[in-house]
């Protein structure tokens, strides 16, 4: 009997092969347990508001006014909303072609893209062209659109860091391309060695792969490292030599928890390098409203900026963007607000700064608390979270545990994380979801649980880890609490 169209066997293989662990097995199990009444702490995804972080007041005020413009006609509106929020709502509504309910330009509202360009110029000191900035429904959509242009078939390879945020592996899989891994050095604080890059490329080429693009995630996810300027220069030079387009995932640029390596954009470094690099290297930079201190994941707002992409290619990318019609307008307004927040002297400025600083300083403290907590466990080694929102400790698993995992039909870190979940309710993502060196195991958690709850969560983890190690370990039979 011939297969029906939606029989499992007749599905697109690329779909079946793609994996996205962030919402994979662990998350599904955690959701099941939650339904059964167990208290779950979801640290599987960078979703700050889900763990109690409050939205910033000012943008919510502005967008609420844009949702219901009739409010602006009410004579008492000034008693409920500050004047600058009212002014800003009017400003953004005037930039739209019919309010939040009308499709905008497929690339995003021109006025907002101009504000993004101005932000980039202030940040980097180099001009930015709004025509080369496209707003998208989240940065992920932008990444998918660009990879769709770059990947022609299985012979096209994309250099991706290992460990990586699995949007990249999943999308490459869905598009039928080939992921070319380059390993970050855990012992060097997840540093990037250009020799590793060269080796990866050489190996791929020997297998007939055309390496087309290189992804960097800076600050890193799950690893959190912030690239140094020297590193960025090396990478850009490498991309120039090898004719690769650089995809700079910079969504965590506002999440920096140390002062030695502040964020520098790939674009700035590229422009600083001058000709020929600044005119030759093709670069696409991604940003979002989901991270930083905004954490507005649910809005689905992002953008990408193109550098040195030929006009005809830009047209094709525009064409593909137009199939999505337009990014959602509310998120475009969030993006405008993010790149042009309240200024000193604005009525809402003090509150805005207070809220933002509060969040960032707390994130910095939590990054430290978590790193230290993990490092206090004998079988755990954890690099400091220099940036982003995650902690990625290495868990040294004894051979008995690995064997038990095998018996259970699970990859060792999945086995560990499932046990952790069942014992403590802490829902993490096993390192295998991000890629890691053979025989080395990690888990990814976020630094997002509320500060007051951190000590208890770390204690809970340590208790579980002790028990796990005494069950499966050789010499860890004592309590370390």
């Amino acid at each position: 009997m011939s297969l029906k169209a939606l029989d499992y066997e007749s599905l697109n293989e690329n779909v079946k092969n793609c994996q996205y662990a962030v919402r994979g097995e662990l998350y599904l199990r955690a959701s099941e347990l939650q339904k059964e009444g167990k208290k779950i702490i979801f640290t599987n995804v960078g979703n700050p508001h889900a763990l109690g972080q409050k939205p910033l007041t000012f943008p919510r005020q502005v967008v609420a006014l844009c949702q219901a413009p009739f409010l602006l006609d009410d004579p008492n509106i000034g008693m409920i909303f500050p004047a600058d929020a009212i002014a800003r709502a009017k400003h953004y509504l005037s930039l739209t072609s019919g309010g939040l309910g009308a499709y905008s330009d497929s690339r995003g509202i021109p006025g907002v893209r101009k504000e993004v360009a101005e932000f980039i110029e202030r940040r980097d000191g180099y001009p930015s062209d709004p025509e080369l900035i496209f707003l998208t429904d989240g940065a992920s959509k932008g990444v998918m659109q660009i990879l769709n242009c770059v990947i022609r078939g299985q012979k096209d390879g994309i250099l991706v860091p290992v460990p990586q945020y699995p949007l990249y592996s999943a999308t490459i899989s869905l598009l039928g391309g080939t992921l070319v891994p380059y390993y970050l050095e855990e012992s060097e604080n997840w540093g990037l060695d250009v020799n590793n890059l060269r080796q990866s490329v050489a190996q791929a080429r020997s297998q007939g792969i055309t390496v087309r693009a290189m992804v960097i995630i800076n600050p890193g996810n799950p690893t959190g490292q912030c690239l140094s300027e020297a590193n960025l220069r090396e990478i850009l030079r490498f991309c120039c030599d090898e004719r690769l387009v650089l995809l700079g995932d910079e969504v965590y640029q506002q999440n920096i928890y140390q002062d030695e390596r502040p964020f520098i954009s790939s674009k700035k470094v590229l422009m600083d390098m001058g000709a020929p690099f600044s005119k030759e290297v093709q670069l696409i930079s991604f940003h979002t409203v989901s991270k930083g201190y905004w954490g507005e994941c649910g809005q689905r707002g992002g953008y990408f900026e193109m550098t040195n992409i030929p006009p005809r290619t830009v047209e094709e990318i525009y064409k593909v963007a137009s199939i999505a019609l337009s990014p959602n307008v509310s998120a475009q307004i969030f993006m405008g607000l993010m790149v042009s927040p309240p200024k000193p002297g604005d009525i809402s400025y003090d509150q805005f700064v207070r809220e933002s600083k509060g969040i960032l300083e707390s994130l910095r403290r939590r990054a430290r608390m978590m790193t230290d907590g993990f490092n206090s466990c004998k079988n755990v080694v954890c690099n400091f979270t220099e940036g982003a929102m995650y902690s990625f400790p290495q868990i040294k698993l004894p051979s008995k545990a690995i064997e038990a995992a095998k018996q259970a039909g699970k990859v060792p870190d999945v086995f560990y994380c499932l046990k952790l979940l069942e014992a403590t309710g802490i829902s993490t993502v096993p390192g295998s979801g991000f890629g890691q060196k053979e025989g080395v195991f990690h888990l990814r958690t976020t630094i997002l649980p509320a500060e007051e709850e951190m000590p208890e969560i770390m204690d809970s983890f340590k208790k579980f880890n002790d028990e796990f190690m005494s069950q499966y370990g050789d010499n860890f039979g004592y309590s370390r609490m």
């Binding site: 169209a5 599905l11 079946k16 219901a68 499709y103 025509e131 040195n308 999505a324 509310s330």
Partner: protein
């Protein structure tokens, strides 16, 4: 309403073919329209029809990874009418009008090319926006001062929705299928509409209906040997999506003479034809009410379609985004789900994906990007794959999700907002019906123009029986006759419509698509200008 772009330049396609990038069974038509250009380009690029001189130097250095000849050829191949030449010209005219009013026989550009109701003055439904504002800035719920500003049921609904969101966090990623409580509301709404139950676990919420269509194409298409049956004329999301995913579009022609009827014999013929060429046909896409054609299928027709899919093992992709837009008393919308269930067909009989959106109907909330697909009749392992695909993008935007639940569960009799809601809804729908009628009558009065009535949706798709002289003039300008007509129309009247080639049509026939969306008070002027233009066009080109 969705946008669309005039097709890819013939010369660009020719160039890519010469470079032998990729051999596809090429069902995409070749347009005679000059190069599509981004609006920032100088106008001279629009008018030239040769391309090689247009290519910038950096495009020809093929060692760079992202040049035109090295990007994914499926991207090059796909065509999607959004902003073609006509809209570019319109935008330039609009700019020029600001300073040069006297140079033109019209005062303003009227965009009838794009189904974007709120950009043409349609107002959003108050109740929906009240709820969205309250959910955006929840402090509004706490202030006693605001109880005068918001209706009591909008406050109640906002509380209800917020309580369905973990932590009331509207800024958090939700479940990848959408917030459970909202899916429950949608499932209830589907049941109330159809009289048959719906399972919230069958619902996948998306940023508009379009991403859902893409997901299904991704799932169903592995290679160009996979075909999807699509209506001609069609809304070009389908052709573009199929091309992007490397599949084959298998056309079935709607019959203009019988009000754009869907004949099962035509479906069968095209299916057999495709199969004889080694294509595995996987799905049938039906747009009901139709776009651009506006027909509402009869229940009998729908039953035949259901049986056809069941017999042939095809997935039925039911694009039902215009389900609230029906303007004629002799037709009614019936969902394919309802039809299938009333035939006694269940999960084991038919794989059906039904799409709905917040962009259409009487709410017209295009910019919010809200929608969902209801997927029934497939096994749990396939459902897992759909879930997995949805999860890579994490979730659709929350505000859009909330709106999707609201349109499927609007105010009921007795609710505080019901009276004003119903007045707004009926006002919009009856106005749309009047505009559909007025424009259709006006078009049918034009010499050589026949126009089927718009039974539903938001468009009119008149057929132009162009005189030979006009066709020759078009050819001399190296452009399709319908594009030639539309350009002339724009320059004479400021009215922007889209040539039929953007939607495909029976070869040798010419159409254009015009929306019924300009505000009612503008319609008489539009009719007058269109009539005057057509008269003079025919005077110039009459055989």
């Amino acid at each position: 309403m969705r946008r669309f772009v005039i097709g890819q330049a013939k010369n660009l396609i020719d160039q890519s073919r010469r470079r032998q990038l990729h051999h596809h069974k090429n069902l995409s038509f070749v347009s005679l329209i000059p190069p599509f250009s981004a609006p920032s380009d100088s106008s001279s690029r629009h008018l030239s029809s040769s391309s090689s001189s247009d290519m910038s130097a950096s495009d020809s250095s093929s060692s760079l990874p992202v040049t035109l000849d090295t990007i994914n050829p499926k991207v090059i191949k796909c065509e999607y009418a959004v902003r073609g030449e006509i809209v570019n010209i319109a935008q330039k005219l609009q700019e020029d009008l600001k300073t040069n009013k006297d140079a033109y026989p019209f005062d303003e550009i009227i965009y009838c090319n794009i189904g974007n109701p709120q950009s043409l003055g349609q107002q959003p439904i108050t109740f929906f926006r009240e709820v969205l504002a309250l959910c955006s800035y929840t402090a509004l719920l706490d202030e006693s001062a605001t109880h005068g500003l918001f209706s009591s049921d909008s406050i109640e609904r906002a509380w209800k929705i917020l309580d369905q969101i973990p932590g009331r966090a509207t800024g958090a990623y939700s479940h990848s299928q959408g917030i459970k409580g909202l899916r429950d509301a949608i499932a209830d709404g589907i049941e109330a509409r159809d009289g048959f139950p719906a399972d919230p676990n069958d619902i996948f919420m998306t940023d508009g209906a379009s991403p859902g269509v893409h997901m299904m194409m991704q799932l169903l298409i592995t290679s160009e040997k996979d075909g999807i049956l699509c209506p001609i004329p069609q809304y070009p999301l389908y052709s573009a999506s199929i091309a992007l995913h490397g599949g084959t579009l298998v056309p079935y022609y709607l019959d203009e003479a019988s009000g754009w009827g869907l004949e099962i014999s035509e479906l069968k013929k095209q299916l057999e034809d495709a199969r004889s060429k080694g294509i595995t046909v996987r799905a049938l896409a039906v747009i009901n009410p139709g776009n651009p054609t506006g027909q509402v299928l009869s229940e009998e027709n729908q039953r035949d379609v259901v049986n056809f899919c069941k017999q042939e093992g095809l997935v039925l992709l039911a694009d039902e985004v215009y389900q609230e837009n029906v303007y004629v008393p002799d037709k009614k919308f019936h969902s394919f789900k309802k039809v299938a269930r009333s035939m006694g067909y269940g999960e084991k009989d038919l794989a059906l994906v039904s799409f709905q959106s917040v962009s259409k109907g009487y709410y017209g909330e295009c910019g919010k990007r809200g929608g969902y697909m209801e997927v029934t009749g497939f096994t749990s392992d396939v459902r897992e794959q759909i879930y997995k695909m949805a999860s890579v993008n994490l979730c659709s935007n929350i505000s859009g999700q909330i709106l999707a639940s609201l349109i499927m569960s609007p105010p009921k009799p007795g609710d505080d907002s019901y009276e004003s809601y119903i007045a707004e809804k009926d006002g919009i729908l009856s106005s749309l019906a009047r505009r559909a009628k007025t424009l259709e009558e006006a078009l049918n009065k034009l010499e050589g123009v026949t126009c089927n009535r718009a039974e539903g949706a938001m468009y009119l798709f008149p057929c132009l029986h162009l005189p030979q002289k006009a066709i020759a003039a078009a050819e001399a300008e190296k452009t399709a006759p319908d594009n030639f007509y539309c350009k002339r129309l724009l320059k004479a009247t400021g009215i922007v419509v889209v040539p039929g080639s953007g939607f495909r049509q029976v070869p040798g026939t010419w159409h254009f698509r015009c929306t019924i969306l300009p505000q009612e008070d503008k319609i008489p002027a539009i009719v007058d200008r269109l009539t005057a233009f057509h008269q003079s066009f025919m005077d110039e080109f009459r055989d």
